[in-house]
């Protein structure tokens, strides 16, 4: 996994609540057995006016000009600003794969759906929960200011706006450590393989039917 330390990135505001993972990456793209290549299909039904199919070349597909991701001022955005309950619905990790592949590294919202939230960390995408007031302020500033960038510092757990307003965000020590160092969980967990084995033996002794 890529490490994440710091970012000064252009912000794209997606002003909708309850953005679900079906909207982030529609089901037809889930037929792929790969982890990569989902970026061109991110928000496919909102982004294009024709129906997208896996493997389709997106360079000449008709764009929905009204969709925020297609507006020239937001090209190259790395920070996605969103509303409540972002990433709800299906557990598909294809959603963060598509977000990361498109180029987003940070998502800021007042709340996220649980499974999506933890899927992000596994894919070098940092989900940041900010209060509804802060998110509102960022939306207003972003829409009013062309080229609006945010400075995100994971070690300090801070987000800073161009005018110097700054807020802190929460992250568990474990996730922070993994993200800062680009570590994947499996290697870390297998360092405790003996403990897992010992637990398994004990568990088997108390509930043998679970192992039948």
């Amino acid at each position: 996994m890529k490490a994440f330390t710091q970012l000064n990135g252009l912000v794209c505001p997606l002003d909708r609540a309850n953005v679900d993972t079906d909207a982030i990456i529609p089901k037809q793209f889930l037929k792929s057995i790969k982890r990569s290549g989902f970026g061109p299909y991110l928000f496919d039904e909102w982004r294009y006016t024709n129906y997208g199919e896996p493997g389709m070349d997106c360079t000449d597909r008709p764009l929905n000009k009204d969709f925020v991701l297609n507006q020239p001022r937001y090209q190259g955005a790395q920070v996605l600003l969103a509303r409540d309950n972002f990433g709800c619905g299906s557990s598909r990790e294809h959603a963060p794969w598509a977000i990361e592949d498109y180029g987003f590294r940070v998502i800021i919202a007042p709340s996220f759906a649980d499974i999506f939230f933890s899927n992000c960390y596994k894919n070098a995408v940092l989900p940041i929960v900010a209060s509804a007031e802060v998110v509102d302020r960022l939306f207003k500033e972003c829409e009013a200011t062309e080229g609006y960038k945010l400075d995100v510092n994971l070690a300090e757990q801070t987000v800073t706006t161009p005018t110097g307003f700054s807020f802190k965000f929460d992250i568990t020590e474990h996730r922070k450590h993994c993200m800062l160092n680009g570590l994947d969980d499996i290697g870390l967990t297998l360092a405790h393989a003996d403990e897992i084995k010992a637990f398994e033996e004990k568990h088997k002794a108390t509930q043998p039917w679970l192992f039948a």
Binding site: R16, A23, S32, R83, S90, E93, E173, F199, A212
Partner: protein, 469 residues
């Protein structure tokens, strides 16, 4: 000291280790799998030269991509076929306790087949790369939907990295009215607490109305816990749980069975357990529900009227209502019962079990699907459900009324196979998500119970099923 919640008990018996920040390694007893979210996990394992830690924890089945008719033609879509073939090959290479390949007589939706084979047991931790894993909480099991990286993690280590959630109790006392089902209970809960209401929580459903539900009904309620944003939904084990499991193929046998039942009796919250949040509802106040929008929280009793955005004070919510009405092609203030439908789908891991099909059949018996309804599908959740329904003659009731009787699978719940809505088509669906495009691009979904879906099929528009029986 306060007593323990069921969640505390399930959690504590599975913690392998805990970090100083509260992050835990949780041991996983049962790993459920389907073809969509597993290929990349197996590929990761292969690339790292790792084996499955305990392949006998795995129960797998292809369900999302499989067709529900013309099985003689195999899987016609080559991309879908490749995904199903990949699961076949991965299970062959890595092993599993139970695998029902495409066309196996017991094939079906993963969340239907694991319980009916006794592979979901009280006290277990259960995971699946699928959000509706919450279903298995009906058995007093701690069941989490996970992403593909986590599928790989569980395959490789038999553990999941987790922090404990907060606990919520939703208590529903009283008796449900005639024609009011587990689906209506679940939708009413989501309508009350919202789709983010359960975020960060494990929800325990309790109270006499929940206790009065069959296992099928309890699975429906827990299935929809995820639509309330919860990490998991659970229900205490009791006589109903034990009676359901007895004699199922993978349920414990002999002395193990007796010991297991003794243990399962402890799987409830203690009387003095403390929850972070408690919500109480009266069973008598719950009516048959219909969603009108594009989020499961946009739901009303069937006697209600489509909301008017002008009455919504919060601007983000107002914009949400406006967008939903536009997408759904509905007028503000119109009665729900005036909404005409084009298609009907009875199926999905929410409502495709035998009890669901019986409830729909009662309504359909001796009637005909309305002329404006182009397609009414009944898709049983598994081969076992299908055979049981056929033994009871339910298939005849449906086909005589003009419904199509199909082979098991996820089908039009998410329309990854050929069963889908065309743009603008409106569907009464017993599934779990009414998101934009969920049942096909531009399709419009209204979530209802099986009885309400059957009643809508007959009438051609939504009706209160209580007036039909």
């Amino acid at each position: 000291m306060a007593g323990k919640t069921l969640y505390d008990k399930l959690w504590e018996t599975h913690v392998v280790r805990e970090e100083s920040d509260g992050t835990c390694l949780l041991y996983i007893d049962r790993h459920l799998m389907h073809e969509v979210t597993s290929p990349q996990a197996f590929e990761g394992l292969r690339l790292a030269h790792r084996k499955a830690w305990r392949n006998t924890s795995i129960v797998a089945v292809p369900d999302h991509n499989t067709p529900t008719n013309h099985w003689d033609r195999d899987i016609e879509d080559p991309v879908s076929k490749a995904q199903v073939d990949t699961l076949d090959a991965n299970i062959k290479e890595f092993g599993a306790l139970v695998y029902f390949p495409f066309k196996h007589e017991n094939q079906g939706i993963i969340h239907v087949i694991a319980p009916e084979n006794g592979a979901t047991l009280p006290g277990m931790t259960v995971v699946c790369g699928d959000s509706h894993t919450a279903t298995h909480g009906a058995f007093a099991a701690l069941a989490h939907g996970i992403g593909t990286s986590e599928v790989e993690h569980v395959l490789a280590t038999q553990t999941l990295v987790q922090k404990k959630s907060k606990s919520m109790q939703i208590k529903i006392e009283g008796q449900l009215g005639a024609g009011v089902t587990a689906k209506d209970v679940a939708l009413a809960i989501i309508g009350k607490i919202g789709t983010a209401g359960g975020t960060g929580y494990c929800i325990e459903f309790a109270g006499s109305a929940i206790k009065g539900l069959s296992m099928e009904g309890r699975m429906t309620v827990c299935n929809l816990a995820i639509e309330a944003g919860a990490r998991a939904g659970i229900i205490a084990a009791d006589e109903t749980t034990v009676a359901y499991l007895k004699g199922r193929p993978h349920a414990p046998k002999g002395a193990d069975w007796d010991n297991a039942v003794e243990y399962w009796k402890t799987l409830h919250s203690d009387a003095d357990a403390q929850f972070d949040t408690v919500i109480e509802m009266k069973a008598e106040s719950i009516e048959p529900q219909v969603t009108w929008g594009t989020s499961p929280e946009q739901v009303l009793a069937v006697g209600g009227k489509v909301p008017n955005p002008a009455n919504e004070a919060d601007p983000v919510k107002r914009a949400g209502v406006e967008r939903a009405l536009q997408y759904m092609g509905l007028q503000a203030d119109m009665p729900i019962t005036d909404i005409q439908i084009d298609k009907v789908f009875i199926g999905s891991c929410t409502n495709s079990r035998i009890e669901d099909l019986r409830a729909a059949a009662v309504v359909a018996k001796g009637k005909k699907v309305a002329g404006n309804v182009k397609l009414a599908l009944v898709v049983p959740g598994s081969g076992i459900v299908k055979r049981q329904a056929e033994a009871e003659g339910l298939d005849k009731i449906f086909t005589e009324a003009g419904f199509e009787w199909r082979e098991p699978g996820c089908s039009m719940c998410l329309a990854m196979n050929a069963d889908r809505l065309s743009p603008g088509e409106r569907c009464a669906s017993t599934s779990n998500r009414n998101f934009e495009g969920r049942q096909g691009p531009g399709g419009r979904t209204h979530l209802v119970s099986p009885a309400m879906a059957a009643a809508a099929a007959i009438a051609g528009h939504f009706v209160d099923v209580r007036t039909q029986q």
